[in-house]
Every structure is written in C-alpha cells, then in structure tokens.
Amino acid sequence: MVVSVKQLEKHYGVNRALGGVSLDVEPATLFGLLGQNGAGKTTLIKILLGLVAPTAGEASLLGQPVGTFSARREVGYLPEDHRLPEYHTSTSLLDLYGALQGIPRRERRRRAAELLDLLGLAGREKLRIRGYSKGMKQRLGLAQALLHGPRVLFLDEPTDGVDPVGRKEIRDLLLEERRRGVTVFINSHLLGEVEQLCDRVAILRKGKLMVTGTVADLTRQKASWLVAFDREVPTSFHFPGASIAAVEGGSRLRVSLDPADGQGPAPAADGSEGIDRFVAAASAAGLRLRHLERERATLEDLYLAIADGGGTP
C-alpha cells in the first residue's frame, strides 16, 4: 500500500476535523478525494504529509510512518491556495525548493529547466512570480511538486485557474505520472474532472469517510431510462412494472423499471430486456421512438446525495 490509514482522528479543540478515517490506497492510482469545504480532506492530506500530527490512529506512507524525512523525500505537494514567494523567479524558486529537497545543484537545474519546458513556462525565467497569472502560478506549483520525482503526489485543486487547454495538458501529465507508477491524490471540487481522471474516489463528510470505491463502481448504470416519443404519451398507455414521469419540461420521460417484474424471458446481463418490451409496447400503441438513453449515476449525484446528509444513494 502506498497509503494506509487506520482509524485516523484529528481534533482541533472541540472541533473534530477527522473522526476515525480508514483508507488504503494502492500504488499507481489516481485517487480523488471529495467532500465539501471543512469535510477534512486537507486535514487528511496534511497528516499524510506529516505537517499535522493526528490525535489518534495510524497513518503510513510507502510503508513508513508519516512525516519521516525519508517519507517526505518521496512526496510532492501542491497546497490549496498556495502562495509562492513573489520575489522569486520560476528558476530561483525551483532552485530553492530543490535544494531544500536535497537535490544537488547540477541535477536540480536540469530538472527545473525540463519541468518549466514541460509545463509551458519556458521563456519566462526572468519574470518574478509577482507578474504571473493564476494559471502560470498553478503550473509552477505543479512543477515544484514534481521537481524531485516523488512517488506520491498530493494535489489540492491542481487545475484551479488554468485554461481548458492547460487542464487537458495537466490531466495528461498526471496520467503519465500514474503510468510511471506514481500515486496521485487529487482534491478537487471539479467533479466532472475527477470522474474523467481518477481511478478511485473517496467522499468525506464532516470528518467521516462516507464512500470509497472505483469510479466505475460508483457511477454504475441505473435501472431507469430517458425516453422521448414523437408525441405525447396518451394517459391510457400503461406498462406493468414501469413508473413513468415527465422530466426536462415534459419533453422526455423517465421510465423506471422494476427489475423483478417476472415477465418475459430470462433477463439480459445488463438488465435492458425490460426497456425493449416497454418500447415494443409503446410502438404497438402507435408511439414512435425519438430518443433512448440509459441513466447513469454521476459522481455529482452521489456527491450531492452525500452532501445533503444521506448515505450512499
């Protein structure tokens, strides 16, 4: 395990930031950490980085207790709302962080030049960070996290303030890192991006781990469909085992099928035989199909359901 956390708790006075979180993360994973502001995501990351001491519980990183120097040498971090010292230029800042990381001068110069080139910051070496745009600061923040070739990356909102092309480049970069065996933790509120990028996600609420699993599992298909016909469905139309509701202003219907209606042949593997019979019945009633789409649970649905105070939907 790259990260192993058992019953981790962190209290700030009476305020409980983390209340017994357990989590295991395997190598070469893009791991999304989701949750509302104050859910405990940043606290969890800070404990894993050794910046904050846990009140109770155990946490290890790459098989070592968190916070040891050898663990820190393997970790890259991009904090949320980071403020890079504005009196530095990109090269001087990377040189500082590289030296503190223990990289010899020649090596860190070479790495800095590579990363600046890779992140599209080449040619601006003389410009002080004061004159950087938000996106440029974000790219430089990523560069410092990658500088020493870490085996684990903790990135808080890595694409914040970056334009769409830049976001794509950063996503590709992170995928490439994963391909090399790096484990990447991403804190983000951009659920679509997390869904697109991450292998696994965990959702925290009020210091508790509500859900964890692969993105594929969490966004599995539902037993409901969006359907549109060429005209309104007459009130006389009925189909046993289906509940029909108008959605999207009446232009479409949500058809929820009871999977255990017991009619017809053996169910198909994806449970789609019910809708075939529904469409056939509608066609027999003179309705012509214009649109058919299976509904999926998005990460957003899941997230909102948990944020509303429920458990797994």
């Binding site: 700030y12 800070k46 980085l49 050794g50 910046l51 904050v52 001491a53 120097f69 050898s70 820190r72 040498r73 970790v75 971090y77 904090p79 949320e80 709302d81 980071h82 403020r83 890079l84 010292p85 504005e86 009196y87 530095h88 001087s92 040189d95 500082l96 962080y97 030296a99 503190l100 990381q101 223990g102 990289i103 010899p104 090596e107 790495r111 590579e114 890779l118 002080r128 410092q144 020493h148 070739g149 085996r151 480049e169 590709d172 970069l173 490439e176 090399r180 065996g181 790096v182």
Partner: protein
Amino acid sequence: MNDPDRFPRKQADAAGRVTVRPMLPRTFAAMLRDTWREFLDAKVLYLLLLAIALLFGAALTGRIEPQPGGRQYLDIAARAMAADLDGIDIATQTMGDVAGRLNGSMYAITAAEPIAADLPEGHWKATLTRTFIPLVGVPESGEEITDRFGKIADGQLWTITEIRETGTEWARKIGSQTWEMAVAPGRDLRLLWPHRFTLFGDSIELAGTKGAPLGLEVLILQKLLATGLGGTILLLVSVAVTAAFVPNMVRKGTLELLLVRPIPRWQLLVFKYVGALLLVAGLLGILVLAVWLITGILANVWSPGVLLALPSLLVFFALLLSVSVLTGVITRSVISAMLVTVAYWAILFIAGQMNNVAVESRIREANVGKMRPTSIAESIRGRQPQRVEPLKAGRKPFYQTTIGRITEGVYAFLPHTEDLDNLVDRQLMRDFAVAGPFRALMESASFSWEKGLGLTLLHTVAYLGIACTIFSRRDP
C-alpha cells in the same frame, strides 16, 4: 507532454536510486540565497547605498583646518612635567592617584612664539622655567628635559629639537632653571589642536569659529555617523525590512511548501535569521567602513577604534531580530513584528538612560562631602576641583526613590545593550584622548561590556529558542 524520456530520475528509480540526503550547508546556502532575494526585492538596498554615497559626498566637501592656539599646549606639556605620568590614564586617574609620582618641581612656559606658523605643523621657540626646592631637588640637564617634555601618559605632544640652558648660576642655586628651546609638534598634538570644521565650502561651520580639538571633532563625527544617527537609521530600516521575512514565510500557502521538505523546521527559521543577520552585517560593515574612510580622508586620522561599532551594532541588531522573529512567528503579522521590535528597542533605550541616572546618583551619593574627582587631564587643563554637595534636605537620591528602584530592578533583567554602546564610546574617547566626567562614568565598574554582551546574547538565544519551539510544534 507524453515524452517518456522526460523523467530520467524516475527511470533511475527502477534501477535503484541512491537516496539524496539533504545536507546542512546546502540547506543553509539555499535559505541564504532566498533571504538575499527577498531583501533585494524590498529595493531598500539601493536607497541605503545611495544614502551612504550621499553622506560620503557631503562629508568630502568638508574641510578641517587647524586654528591658532598652540601656546596652551606648551603650557599643558610644561605643567605635566611635575609628575611622572608614564603609563597613567590621564582621563580617569586623579592627581591624588599619582601623588607618589610627583617630583617636587614646578615647570612653566614663560615665553613662547611660533617660529614659522602658529599651527600644529609649525615649530615654536619657547622659554621653560623650572622651580625646585634647593638642597632637596637637584638641577636637571637639558637631556633630561628633552626626554620628558611633551610626553603625557602614552601620548607625545611635543619634541624638543634644540635646547640651551640660559639661567644664571646664582638662580640655579636658589632653585630656578631656565631653558631656551625649539620644539616641534609630536605625533599626538594634532588631536588636541583646535581645528575649524566646515561643510560645503565655507557655508556651514560645525565646530564654532575658534574650532575644537581635532580628536573631539573626529569622535563626534564618528559617533554621530556610526553608532548615533547613522547607525540608528540603518538599524531602523533593517528592522523594517527584516520584519517581513518571517511573517511572509509562515503565511498560509507558503509555509506548507517549506514544511513539506525533508529538513527540520527549526532550520528554516534559524537559517532565515542568520541570513538576515549576515545581510545587515554587510550593510553595517559598509556604513562603518565608510565612516572610517570619511573621517580618515577629512581629518587624516586613521584610528581603527570606530570599527568596534560594527560588532557592537550587530550584536544589538541580533537581539532586535530575534524579537522580530519571535513576534513574527506568534502573530504572523509584519506590522506587529515591526512595532513590537521598535517598542522593545524604545524600552531598552529608556531603561538604559534611566539606569544611567540611577548609577550616577549612586556615585554622587557615595562622594558627598568629598572633593569631586578631577582627572589629571582636567587638572592640567586648569579645572578647579569642586566639592560634591549633599542633596537638599528631604530629597532622596534617584536610586532610592520608587521609580529609581523599579528602574534598577527592571534593568537587571534586560539585556544591557547600553554597555555595548559604551564600549565603542570608551574606545573612541581613548583613541582621541578625550577626558571628562562622562568618560570617567564610562570607565567605571558599573559598566561592563562583557556583561552587556553576555546578557544580550542570552536574551537573543532565548527569544530565538522560544520562536523555534513554537514554530516546530504548531500545526500549519
């Protein structure tokens, strides 16, 4: 973007990478460069260098010229011959201290006129008369007079180039000798000689129309520019610039990027501190060196005593910086760090001044009814001894009043930075043979620069230690 060869270090991983260990010198050098960048970014360096250059320029328009007035220094040299003052500190020791060294003779200059010019470079013709008690004292030879005339303590005011005894045999028998002599200025005469000091041509007169002793002028100039106004302004600017260092470093979003590195937290703070200290040491070095050069060029006096101002000011700044760092760590605010540091400085200054008053009141009280000690230097300049009068009935000496007691009580716990300043003052006074009660106070046992240095360093280390402890333990 997807070039797999972009990360050679990662490939080395698989082959078994040698762990790179952070080394102390590397970390230190990196933090030093960081501090230097931050300092340069404040743009103050250029202003300070400009200010020092302007000071230099202004000072170099000055002219220091000797004034008439050599006769009095012949008189001083003659009177001083009444005792053997070899190795005696004339500024602090009184005539009473050297009573055993009096030789029973009186010497006086009865006539004097300059041979060439009435200037320290000029030579004089003078008549010296010695009066002694016949039978007790024996006549002196011209060689003996040549050997002793003009020497006061370690200084050499005059040298005799020609001497001829002119008195009659009869006068000699009743205890009176007379010599005609030609004298040349000795190496230390210039420091006592009155000089005019003007700036910007003749437009500003700094030492009165008659001038003041060159040594005193140089001392005041050095004190004003190095430890006085110049040093104070430089330290104030340094406090203002360095006050931002720690709060900037511990800002949310910046701090995490430093704390995540594989180095102990205290190193970040201590290296930043040492970096700032080295920068200010450089600035102080430039200032003190500039002052030394300015007075050297202007007055052709190259005494190195003023260079002591550098360690003295630096130790003081080390204390101020530790207060600034501690406040910065606690409050994370630039304004707080600056204000608390300046307030601390003000408290030290006021407490030091009030303590001086208390010490003076103790010395005075111990000497009530006695003759006020008059140094040899004062005596040979003709100052009359005075008795120390008791205070008016019902008035307590300052050190016995409530405020006096509080002052001495509080001062005992403060770093005695005043003594570091006194160390420089005392050295300057020694360099330039300046005497007087102020110097006597400075030389008194109440002032100990060793204690001042020790207490200051102790406070500095304590504040820094507390700052490091808080910094290491607090969650970011």
